[in-house]
Symmetry: C3
Subunit: 139 residues, 3 copies
């Protein structure tokens, strides 16, 4: 069984981590999907997806702080003309997708884990693609 879903995400700052765990869990609830994999995929090249602590928002703050300090927006030698080379580099470091286990229709996440959309060149309207792959609901 394979199904695909689209999630709209709106960012409000240049760099921002947006918790999309509840939205993906709701999408799962509305599907007949029960057991398998949930691939959360970012179709943008200046944004990314990761799994991190979502209990304390300071964790996301500190991750962005380090990324912004370590990957400068302007660096002698950058050639890409749009002034967002840093956003492409941050996206490559964090990665374009995460794969989450699904059991009995629920995301299997660790106690402190949440799924984040990582905006590195906002504010923008974005999409997240979700693919579910596994066993169909057993009647």
């Amino acid at each position: 069984m394979v199904t695909r879903h689209v999630l709209d995400v709106i960012s409000h700052r240049r760099t921002e981590m947006i918790d999309i765990t509840a939205a993906i869990q709701e999408l799962l609830r509305n599907s007949a999907f029960r057991n398998g994999l949930c691939v959360v995929y970012c179709p943008h090249t200046t944004a990314a997806v990761t799994i991190q602590e979502h209990a304390d928002p300071d964790v996301a703050h500190d991750l962005l702080l380090w990324l912004n300090q370590t990957v400068p927006q302007h660096l002698p030698g950058y050639r890409h003309g749009e002034g967002n080379s840093d956003a492409h580099i941050k996206s490559a470091l964090v990665g374009p997708s995460v794969t989450v286990l699904v059991q009995e229709g629920k995301l299997l996440l660790g106690t402190w884990q949440g799924i984040f959309f990582c905006e590195f060149d906002g504010p923008r309207r974005r999409q997240i693609w979700v693919q579910l792959l596994g066993q169909p609901d057993q009647p």
Copy 2:
């Protein structure tokens, strides 16, 4: 066919790379799983999973050396109160899971590749979740 398994991992240092290749291969051997994907998932936000050379342990040493130098444990501006922001950042860089191909019940890894649990805030008792997804054993 979808099955899930749990692997216990014990770390002994604050940062440490632990080779879990043999444990995952053994888990596969004890299952009926033959062909498909093996997702190795870390449910912790201060640890990660990666695939790297496991022939020479100096490779893991050098990766930790670079990470520890590049992501400082204390940085002006960090807000997270637990003093382990660096561990969260390292986890985001290395990533929460790896996806490995399985053929005839065996992990398909490159010649020098091993699967590592990456501890960034140990020592601790940890878990790794493994999900197998693919074709069932054909009789």
Copy 3:
């Protein structure tokens, strides 16, 4: 349905990003695969796979520039004797695989996205392994 394929890649520089999108799309076209996941896996520990903008080659240039500046080839404390510790570290940061959605036999990529083989210790002959997993072609 699970199938595996091998792609040969030849690199010409020490660090290089090689666009393999068309090769993977052709591989898909020659298979009966229609819907599911395409896992693009790098079996090497001094190379990686990522998804990034492939419209402007300057994006790949800037990513390599930053990686080469941030992960030095020689660092006091490196122990690995082959002089390519930086290549292992870059591989761990970028990651060993990407997972792409497939719909009706086509890679589902964002407008600007391409799949890149990332060489960090070339020039060399390399391989990429591709696994397709999902629903079979429905007659």
